[in-house]
Symmetry: C2
């Protein structure tokens, strides 16, 4: 769709994402090895296969007595089976003795079943007569209270498939398998380029008319908390040559390039021209029906994504969430799972009316407050560009494309930061 | 409550947590300074106060013309105001000229308002007659489309209070204030002690009867993803002297001490005795009405928390979630907020019946599956101690104390990992 001047209309967020994914090329991701203790949240780059049977021996899951199940058949409180205690299984040791008919040995949870025994009867189901004799009060089935050798996983069995993100309990499982060096994908590199003649480094004093570089830092935080490695490239003037050089250099070393700001008139066109001139297919969309973030640019050059974001700090955060986060996950090598569909949300009542334009997806920052046991979402409606509104917000309420606003008291879903 | 043998009954999770918090002493937490780019998820240890007015100058929030509002009063499409264009505000510069009556200057979003001007009229509400003359088609109010100096925050205003956790957008806000070195609390140190005569290091081959140290690694992952610094102390034999020394040393250097396993009979009593002998008040509870995790021990020595967890890997994860995570957060210096109450959850249908004992809180690991557009939670009911069940799980369903089970088809809340 083009307007009267031949410019294309803004497109929907879904359409924007779909254009990006059509042109995105997922490269052969480089791998590296990390130590198990440092592997949390990394994405494994090779299937992990069990190097051995686990457990490697029949193991008790209870504190009790190792027996031959047949010796307990028919046992009751009134007619117990009498077994001779011939030994004790020491933890961590392979028992040297064997359990014969009508014999038993004490065993603790995790202990190795002695030869001859095929089940464990719990302490609670026995009576001790003396050092050498117990009564068994209940029958035990073969294999009861025992994990068989290889029951957890068999040698050669795939335990995790490539693309799996390592969670704390997965670290435990890997330790159990004796795998302490893990092949993972390198973190995708994200180059962050700030533009704007008025923008100065965060560490610098500002002169009248200048502002500090906010977006390089919020983007660094976002990239690093979502599985990427951020590279702050610095601040560049609003001219074609400087930006072309910065973006061209970044394209060589990074997997994703983000250009933010400048708010000067014409900067957006410079960014679009740079993306188009760097290679094919170039700009895929310029303008998305979201607020904040409408003037956003998305493009692909030689399979790599480049984003041109408006300078407004709140817009940068929304654009990251909607477009850069999914692309970053794809380039991290992580397999898409059901879990990714769900977010940390909470239901709350809207404290006042919010208006929105039909055909526009509004992302409204809210803070949460509890009154009389009810949770309220209070929209933070500051002028654009206010920093302190960033700090106050607890989350975001989305007003979908087809709605023109939400009324006070509406139950809304707040996506929490 | 004591049973017939004079032993205390297990207590509820709430009671256990409340005993811990009564005896816990939050020490003066040590501080350190981190660079802004590395400050994500750290807890600030001092209030952050704005060192200057922000913005430091009246700034335009629109692309348009800087005017005196009074010059536009009464303007309409049919009777526009005519203004003389006397200049252009360059980005990042302090305009050297002044706007007189019936004068105007081009200004972009973020530009500094020239002296004399008090508002900005958007491009869309003007017509360009020629290089030197525009028509204004709508009246503008004083201050319209302008952020006043100090409107975002005033010099000396508190922007974040101590105990606040730095999020990506907070990093942006700090950059905007020019604060690039941040005072934060040191991460609490958590010493992890593994016990068990059968336990060998994860990197070691296992002999029959031995198992590898799983829990030190899942705990490392849990501690580090929840704001602590994990110190793996190693594996100790199941005897009083070794454990006393390991726990005593850890008490000197760490803020929280976790002792896991040994499944050997009597190990739990050794752990309890060690905690009691290290100092006052010692063991606060021994046995909590949860599954898995029932034999858990909680204690405090000289204000510092010590936990004795059963060796079962799934129990360790549940005990961490219920008891260690909140204590770790308290010791990290983070202020309790509304946000902490909410978790990442999803509603699903239970795929089969689960039974539970009344008076016991069951934590059942589940995997998620989608069938015909409906989400199902499939309980993973392996024998205790299986490693692969850790890997398969997507989340946990809790069966509360008063329930004896849940029926197939029940809508349950799954807390996602």
């Amino acid at each position: 769709m083009k307007d009267m001047l031949g410019r294309e209309d803004v497109i929907s967020p879904d359409e924007a994402l779909s254009r990006l994914y059509k042109a995105l090329i997922t490269p052969d991701l480089p791998e590296t090895v990390v130590a198990l203790a440092l592997s949390a949240n990394r994405i494994i780059s090779r299937d992990i296969v069990s190097p051995e049977n686990l457990p490697g021996f029949d193991r008790s899951t209870m504190d009790g007595y190792a027996i031959r199940a047949s010796d307990s058949f028919g046992a009751t409180d009134g007619y117990p089976s009498y077994l001779k205690v011939t030994g004790e299984v020491l933890m961590g040791e392979c028992p040297s003795f064997e359990i014969g008919k009508s014999e038993t040995a004490r065993i603790a949870t995790g202990g190795m079943l002695p030869k001859g025994a095929d089940s464990v009867v719990m302490f609670e189901q026995t009576n001790v007569i003396n050092e050498e004799m117990i009564e068994v009060l209940k029958p035990t089935a073969t294999g009861e209270n025992v994990i068989q050798s290889g029951e957890d996983c068999k040698k050669g069995e795939t335990v995790m498939t490539k693309g799996h993100k390592i969670r704390p309990h997965d670290m435990g499982a890997l330790a159990g398998l004796g795998i302490t060096k893990i092949w993972v994908y390198e973190l995708p590199k994200v180059a962050i380029i700030a533009t704007g003649d008025e923008v100065v480094p965060a560490s610098q004093d500002v002169m009248p008319g200048q502002v500090r570089d906010i977006n390089s830092y919020s983007l660094t935080g976002l990239v690093e908390t979502h599985g990427g490695s951020a590279v702050i490239k610095g601040i560049f003037r609003d001219n074609y040559e400087d930006l072309m050089k910065a973006a061209g250099d970044s394209l060589k070393e990074a997997d994703i390039i983000i250009i933010t700001g400048g708010s000067s008139v014409g900067t957006k066109d410079v960014t679009a021209k740079v993306i188009n001139d760097l290679g094919k297919p170039g700009v895929l969309f310029h303008g998305v029906s979201i607020k904040p973030g409408k003037p956003m640019i998305g493009g692909i050059v030689d399979g790599k994504p480049l984003f041109g974001l408006p300078g407004h700090p709140a817009a940068v955060i929304v654009c990251f969430e909607l477009f850069i986060k999914p692309v970053l996950r794809t380039l991290s090598g992580e397999t898409e799972t059901l879990n990714h569909r769900f977010r940390k949300t909470v239901q709350a009542k809207l404290s006042k009316n919010i208006s929105s334009g039909a055909g526009r997806e509004d992302h409204v920052r809210v803070l949460l407050e509890e009154k009389n046991g009810e949770l309220y979402a209070i929209p933070i409606l500051g002028k654009s560009g206010l920093i302190t509104t960033l700090v106050k917000a607890d989350g975001t309420v989305v007003i979908p494309l087809r709605k023109t606003g939400l009324e006070q008291g509406t139950e809304v879903e707040v996506e929490l930061f």
